[in-house]
Structures are given as structure tokens and as C-alpha cells.
Assembly symmetry: C2
Homo-oligomer: 492 residues x 2
């Protein structure tokens, strides 16, 4: 606990890796690319889940659960989707182990227990779900189907990083079925807005809503909407995606319905998801060289109280006062932890809570009791002040709201300062290397140019923002005519 | 919807399978032995999860998440555990698919993407978790570790049935680490009691708490505590288990700690779990020939309101009254669905809600409005009465409590009537074949006798009940001396 974190300015990537482990959020496991999400990290994820789940239900969705495995023949049915994920599929080929005759006490795969058809561990569930929907849909009366699933998925990534890119990750995936194209498009847009609302209001991370280019689209989608956030190192992070799938999956899985006019038509689809990757975004947006900084809306403990005492008598008096404060805060909906461990000194506790990003810390000693005050420290600004115990529930309630807003506004200012309009490729490269962040530039609309720019600079088109104005210009790379600017950035 | 369910008395097993599918709880999927949990079934599971999660947290546990995969070398480390699960393991051997050169548009496993070490899809997580705990525990100060995980697990079962036995199922698994044997045993017992409380108070299913015999123990455990329930067909169902693992896993994974005396010792362990199998217990305990019967504490909708009308004007008036009733019920914490679909007649709605086990149904028509009453129907007794709209929130609140208690008491009476003391093997066989249920009999304590009885009758020892008196007797099969009765039954 005593060793300081690497500074962001020294090595941002190392800072991130250290922070995740030392703040007890997650760690690498014995399984290549798979992480262990530790209780403190999982508690934050649970708060995210709870809020998202509420938002999904408020927009009419229900949860369900579909199998982990996808038979290969279903997996390959929607060709683009299959092609997009084939190279990163974990595949189950056998269903039994047996004693290894050559190695006492060891097991081996039983060669006689080979599956007739291999099973893909789901990298995403469109295939298994649309194969199921075929049995659920006959008429327009069966539509829409608005389902979400909380699940684990596996994508065999070669280079992994805790939360940001792991072979197994947790996510939710919405899969909806509609009678009309317009309704499916509206759903796609609605869910992208739900994601934006959640990320902005709960995670305090400003995002840009937009649409992906063809080459950045989800495999099998007609259009991918997304929200893009900017990390402190000037790299973008795709925080959520919502896909309009057209009739691609309905056609691949033969899902038809009788419409109101009595005619058969293929069903229209959407899918949308966010994952434990959001934890990475949360960490990288707000945290500092002292450790994690959590927005109050997602902090497992919004307030921690540390007693400062020399003997049991003092501790007893402090405990009395703390119990009153604690229950008054809790009855105001504030989560409070009284850290009365006798195995650590106050200084060590302060350091731990700072590292773990608890928004507010109260320290309380005998002098404070006499004065009717406590010392209140803000994690985000690292400032302290003495505040009166009387009315402390209002003080803290207001302060938590202030912190939530301040974090958002700070991240917003950073983001606004890191969107740069450029009009030449030289400028493009310079901004990308020196200032970093989003680059707003004209692009000729071709995959060729997009690919060339990526090859030369590692920057990709993050999105065509919803609010991008129609404006005549020349492509920053090819010089060909362009109708609007798009956002480029290097990205996680 | 119109076809009647098979009657329980005709074919209990068929009745169950039909009910699960027709009440929209779950269905079989394209993956052998894996089910799709449909939104209505999942909503019940979510209510179970929410309540259990609250109880786990109230007893000091935190959630976390560990990898889906277990490398074979870790899986085999605890030999008994490995031996117990080896025969039902799904094994990942490859991490990539490629285009099949012999089959255009098809994929095949890329032979070059074979994993160096095979990965077992977790059938249970002791191995991966204890391998992780090694890094978390040095001193007694790091103990206890009280962690729970909500996850999917896979056990390649040959004969599967929706909810009761599926290749993939959802569950929670607690994994705790302790400094002393006594503390670990206390935890094992505590969690078995938590399960009993949950199943009795929320699921309205009476259970017998007890300890498993050696041959029925969890693979790798020193002792397995369990709760056993009785289904309407007289078969027992193991509803939850809590294992005292001793130091077995700590030894297999070399997890040691320095105790207060400064000495190194292996850590003591427990694990405990309940699964979506509980859904099967819920269905089979309370439901009837008309369909599902849900205890109010777990019903996604406790009350459904069906309007009876002939024209839009009537519907508008009814809707007005319903809105008032609905918000008054909701403000009393009662979940209500207003079923105003215009695609179904009232009769069809009644049948659907009956099939889906909604505890209370309100029907309301123009006559009712005049009289200031509604028709209130109980699902469990299928009785109806007219009740006054005024004060309906109290009427319904009390009635929901009554239904919850009645369901429990009904199941308890059935269970009490189906525990039969027998003192000879002839009697044993007769009761098992005619009366069914639990048989309380003396047993000589040997695995040999236990095995023989199972072979001859298919009955297993469900548990040695906590409250089994010490009483001299003779084993019902071998005639050898016995100190207490144990409970036998045929079981799911």
C-alpha cells in the first residue's frame, strides 16, 4: 500500500494497470486473457448493472437467458457475423475427461467423447437468439420482442488488458425483433440514447453519439450507432454500441411473420450492448496519480468515516457520534462505511480510501466531538474542510451532487479542448501526435481512404456524429469532395 | 392456449414438461441439454436472485467474478473434485475457426489453433477460485474471505429436463476461506440455514435440513449439508447444498496463512450453491392441473386486472377506476399488471393468467363500477368473491399474505403426511411404491447397504436430518445395529 502509483505522465498504460490491481478492482487469472473481478470492482459493476437494468425495463425490455454455446452450423448461418467473429472463437469439441493412462493422477480429454458438432462459446448471441425467435414469431401480434440478456461472452483476443479487452467479459446484450424497419431504427437510436444518458449521468463521462462507418460496423449490421468517450491520454474509447441489423438475421434464420395486411415478411432486428469495458472507461476518465476517483452515483461507499482515537474510551465516544451521523446519512440514501478496523492506522486507511476512490472521507477525533464538527475531505479535489455535525446530511448530500457534476464538467472541458478541426493531413498528423484527442476532419467516404489513414497514423474514424453539420469540404487525405466532417482518433 | 394440460394424475412428468413450456417459463434450445429461460421464467429467477443476494449480503458476503474456464492442470489438482466432475466436462480445445476448404460458406475448427492446455468450462469453481485465493491470503488478517459468485456452469448431463437437470444452468456459488475449522463449519451451517429460510419463506416450500452421507457428498467435501424438499409426486428434490471442504482445496492449491500464533496453517474452506433447479422445485410443489401456482413473494405480477367491456366508453371508465386501484396497490408495494390488450377476450386472458400462476386476478366491468366492487379471484384455491374497491389495498395485501402462508402450510401438510417411519425392508418397499415420499428408517451406516438399497429400490438417503434423534434400532436392510433414523426417498 505504501508504494506510490506510477504517474500518468510517466506511463499512462502502466498507471492504469497498477491502479486496477492496487485499488482491488480486478486482476489477471491463471486463464490466458481472462480476469478475476474482485469484490470492490464487482460492486461498482453491480451498481452499473442495477441502473442500466432499470433503464432497460423503463423502456419496455425484459430479461431472459439463452445458451452459452452456439452449434457451429447456427454460428455460420449469418455469414458476415460468422466471418467477423470466426477468428476469435473458443470452441468446445469434447464433453468428457478421463484418467490419463500415461500420467497417474492426471486427466486427459476422452478421445471417444468428441461432439458430433462443435460448439462455439458465444462471442455474441445473435445466432442462438434468432434461431430461437423463429419459434416465437408468427404474426405481427407477436412483435415487438424486446429482450435483454446479462451474460458472459468469450472473444479470443491476442492482446488483453484488464477490463478493456479480455477474452471473457461480462456484458448485457439486447436483442429486439420488430414488424417494421422504422420501428427497428427507432429502437436502435433509443438504446444508443439510453447508453449516452447512463454514461453521462451515472458515470459522469461525456460522450459523442454517432454512427460508425461501414468498416467499423458490427459484423452483420446495416448500421452501428455508438457512443464515444475520450480518455485522459487523448485516446478514444467506444463505450457502447447499438446495431440496426435490418433483416439480415431474420433471413439467415428464416424468421418471418404475417403482417397486418396478411402478407409474409422477414422480421426487423436490433442488438445493443455495453460491457465490463465501461469499468475501464470509468477508471481512465476520472482517476488521478493518487488512485481511483469514483463518481458518487457509482461509488459502493459514497462516504467513509475514519475514527481518530488514542484509547478505547475515545473510540466509544466517537463510535456513538458516528452511529448517529451514519444513520442520518443512510436515511438520506447515502451509503456509508465506518472504517473502525483496529489493524490499520488512520493514515493507512486514508491512503487506502484515496486509492479506492471513495468520494468523501470523514475523519473524527475527540477535538471534533468537542467542537461539534468533523473533517470532511473530497477525493476529487483532495481538499479538506471542517464542517458542522449538525445538518451534515444536507452538507454531504449537496456535496455528492456537486462532485458528480464537477467530475462530469471536468471531463467535458477536457473533451471539448480535445476536439480539433483540421484541414490538411499534415495538421492531422501533428495534432494526433502532439495534442491527441478527437480530430474533426473531412473524409471522402471511401473505405480505401479510411484504411490508408489508419495504416499511416493508427487513427480510425470513431463515428459520424449525430450533430455533424452538412458542410462542403475536401477530404483531408485524398482531397476529394466531402459533405461533412467525421471524428478520427486513436482508440482503445 | 385452448388445449388443456395433461393432468398430474395421468402423467406427472409430462404435466411438468408441458407446464414449463406453456406457462412461458423455459424451452429447449438448439444446443443439446441447454435451455432458453424465457422472460416470464427469468423474471421469477430474478426475484429469487434479488432476495438471496440480499440475504448473502446481510450475512457479510460480497459478490465477485471468476473465469468461466479452468485450465486442465488446475482442474485436476484436487483429485476427488476432479474425479467427481471429469465425466461431465465440456472442454475447449481450440480458439479459432476458419473457412472450410471443402465446404463453401461453412467454417471448421482451425487445426493450427489448438490450445496448449485444454480449458474445462467450469462445472463448479473451487479450483479456479482457490488457485486465486492463494495470492490473496498471507495472514489471519486476510481472513475470512466471504465471496459469492452469480454465474453459469456446465455439466454435460446425459438425461436433461428443463430447470431440473440441464447441461448449462445458472446458479450462485459461495466460496469462503477461514482461519479455523470451527468458523468454517459455522459458515457451512449458517448458509444451509439461509437457504432453508429463503426456500420456506419466499418459495413457500418446507424443507428438511440435514447432512449427506459420504456417497452423496459433494466431490472434495468433508461434509455436505443440504435442504431437501418433497414434490407432489412424492419424490424428493435437493434444493440447496452447503459444503464444509476442510483444508482439501487449500492443500491442493497450497493456500497457507500465518495464524495469530505466528504459525503457518492451511486455510479452511466452504462452498455453497443453489441454482435454477429451484425453479423446478417451485413449479412442482405448488402448481396444479390448471397450470402454475406462484407464491406471492416470487410472482412477477402479484395482481392482474382484466377489464370487461363492450365499447370504448366503458373501457375508458374502467381504465379510470383501474388507474386509481393500481396506484393505490403499487404504493403498498404490490406489483400489478393491467391487462388491457385488445387482441384477446377476457376468457382467454383469464386462462393465460391462470396458466401463468398470477396469485390474484381482478375482473372489473360496468356493473362493478356501479356497485363500487370488483371480482377478485384467487389462483391457489380458484375461488372468487366480490370485494369493495374502497380499502382494496388492505384486502389484497392481507390476501397475498394469506396465500403465501396457505401455500406453505398446504405443502407442509403434504410433506408431513409423506414422512413414514418403517422398520422392515418389506414395509420400506411397499411405502416407496404405494404411498411414496420420505421414508424414515434405520441404516447401518455403511456405503454398501446404502448402495444395495439404491440398487434394489432406486431410493437414496436424502439426508441425516439435523433433528434426527439418537435412538437404538436395527438397519432396515442388513439388520445390523443403528443409532438413528435417516431419510430415504426417490429423488430428482
Amino acid at each position: 500500500m505504501s508504494k506510490k502509483l506510477t504517474k500518468r505522465s510517466e506511463d499512462y498504460s502502466k498507471w492504469y494497470n497498477e491502479l486496477v490491481v492496487r485499488a482491488d478492482l480486478a486482476e489477471n487469472s491463471a486463464v490466458r486473457g481472462c480476469m478475476v473481478i474482485k469484490p470492490y470492482g464487482y460492486a461498482i459493476w453491480e451498481k452499473m448493472q442495477a441502473e442500466l437494468d432499470k433503464m432497460f425495463k423503463a423502456t419496455g425490455h425484459q430479461n431472459a437467458y439463452f445458451p452459452l454455446f452456439v452449434p457451429k452450423s447456427l454460428f455460420e448461418a449469418e455469414e458476415k457475423n460468422a466471418e467477423g467473429f470466426a477468428k476469435e472463437c473458443a470452441v468446445v469439441t469434447h464433453y468428457r475427461l478421463q484418467n490419463d493412462p500415461d500420467n497417474k493422477g492426471k486427466l486427459r480429454v476422452d478421445p471417444e467423447a468428441r461432439l458430433e458438432e462443435e460448439l462455439v462459446v458465444r462471442p455474441t448471441s445473435e445466432a442462438i437468439i434468432w434461431n430461437t425467435y423463429r419459434g416465437w414469431i408468427q404474426s405481427y401480434r407477436d412483435l415487438p420482442i424486446l429482450i435483454n440478456q446479462w451474460a458472459n461472452v468469450v472473444r479470443w483476443e491476442m492482446r488483453t488488458r484488464l477490463f478493456l479487452r479480455t477474452a471473457e467479459f461480462l456484458w448485457q446484450e439486447g436483442h429486439t425483433a420488430h414488424a417494421t424497419e422504422a420501428e427497428a431504427i427507432a429502437e436502435t437510436e433509443q438504446m444508443n440514447k439510453v447508453y449516452a444518458d447512463f454514461v453521462e449521468n451515472f458515470m459522469a463521462i461525456p460522450v459523442i453519439k454517432g454512427v460508425k462507418t461501414e468498416s467499423e460496423r458490427f459484423a452483420g449490421a446495416i448500421d452501428t450507432h455508438c457512443i464515444e468517450a475520450l480518455m485522459q491520454d487523448g485516446k478514444a474509447l467506444q463505450a457502447g454500441t447499438s446495431h440496426f441489423l435490418g433483416q439480415n438475421f431474420a433471413k439467415a434464420f428464416d424468421v418471418k411473420f404475417t403482417n397486418k395486411e396478411g402478407k409474409q415478411d422477414h422480421v426487423w432486428a436490433t442488438s445493443w450492448g455495453v460491457s465490463t469495458r465501461l469499468m475501464g472507461a470509468l477508471i481512465m476518465t476520472h482517476s488521478d496519480d493518487q488512485g481511483l476517483v469514483l463518481p458518487p452515483n457509482l461509488a459502493p461507499n459514497q462516504v467513509v468515516i475514519v475514527p481518530i482515537y488514542k484509547n478505547d474510551e475515545q473510540l466509544a465516544e466517537i463510535t456513538n457520534a458516528v452511529n448517529t451521523i451514519k444513520s442520518s446519512l443512510e436515511s438520506n440514501g447515502i451509503s456509508v462505511k465506518f472504517d473502525n478496523r483496529d489493524t490499520l492506522r488512520p493514515g493507512a486507511k486514508f491512503a487506502q480510501h484515496e486509492l479506492q476512490g471513495v468520494p468523501l472521507r470523514i475523519a473524527i477525533g475527540p477535538k471534533d466531538l468537542e467542537n461539534g464538527t468533523v473533517e470532511l475531505a473530497r477525493r476529487d479535489t483532495l481538499t479538506k474542510e471542517n464542517v458542522s455535525i449538525e445538518g451534515i446530511e444536507n452538507t454531504i448530500s449537496n456535496l455528492l451532487e456537486t462532485i458528480q457534476n464537477d467530475l462530469y464538467n471536468k471531463a467535458l472541458r477536457f473533451r471539448e479542448n480535445h476536439i480539433t478541426e483540421v484541414n490538411s493531413f499534415e495538421e492531422f498528423k501533428t495534432v494526433l501526435e502532439t495534442k491527441t484527442g478527437f480530430i474533426s476532419a473531412h473524409w471522402d467516404g471511401t473505405a480505401e481512404t479510411e484504411h490508408k489513414i489508419k495504416e499511416l497514423t493508427k487513427a480510425t474514424i470513431r463515428c459520424v456524429p449525430y450533430d455533424s453539420k452538412i458542410e462542403d469540404g475536401l477530404c483531408v487525405y485524398s482531397g476529394k469532395p466531402s459533405k461533412q466532417r467525421v471524428l478520427f482518433a486513436k482508440a482503445y
